[in-house]
Amino acid sequence: MKVIDLVQQLNLKVFTPGIELDRTVSGAYVSDLLSDVMGHAREDQVWITLQSHLNVVAIASLKDLSAVLLVKGIVPPDEVIRKAEAEGIVMLGTLEQTFDVSGKIYKMLV
């Protein structure tokens, strides 16, 4: 599965239009604790979170995550979008809450 499949099937908002959506999605990791993501998320996973500050981009980049998905209609600040575009990190958004969107992505992955 690719990021584009997630975007189309779940009707996600794309905050970083300048970046291709062709990265592979091998799984997802759900956490709002940055050290937890740093320690346990794996390459090519989508990170589902409500954190939307600059350090989220740094972690997504360091961990080679395929995208960051912000829940509950959270919109990242402009500086975060600029940094994400500079680092090649896809930032996505949904109006749904974490449990609901995670369940849908789980179904798509298994």
Partner: protein, 140 residues
Amino acid sequence: MMTLHFHIEGGNFTNAGFASSQVKKTLKQLNIDSGLIKKIVIALYEGEVNIVAHALKGEIVVEISPETITMILTDEGKGIDNIELAMKEGFSTASQKVREMGFGAGMGLPNIKKNVDQLFIESTVGVGTKLTMIKQLDHA
């Protein structure tokens, strides 16, 4: 032997992760095993964020030889009162503001310990902390 130096500003989360990102790029260029790079990056990032979250300022020196990578993180700040307690998963002295960002979960030092071969912590309360992390590169 290659040596990289970084200055870290305490309290400035905007650039947190810069040193880790530069070291990751360097290790990739040196064709270091990607599994090793992942572990090194986790440890260094946690150390870098600890300086930003807890210290006034700090220095990171990374020495890369064909056999080992040694990362020395020295900061000026409040130091660690009880190192044994600080090593416990879930223990943190981070501020409320830092916790709201999703840091300060008490996972930093445990994450470091899990991902390097050797970790030495020296700290003096009111002066600062020095972390030395060593990872073997030649037995991937």
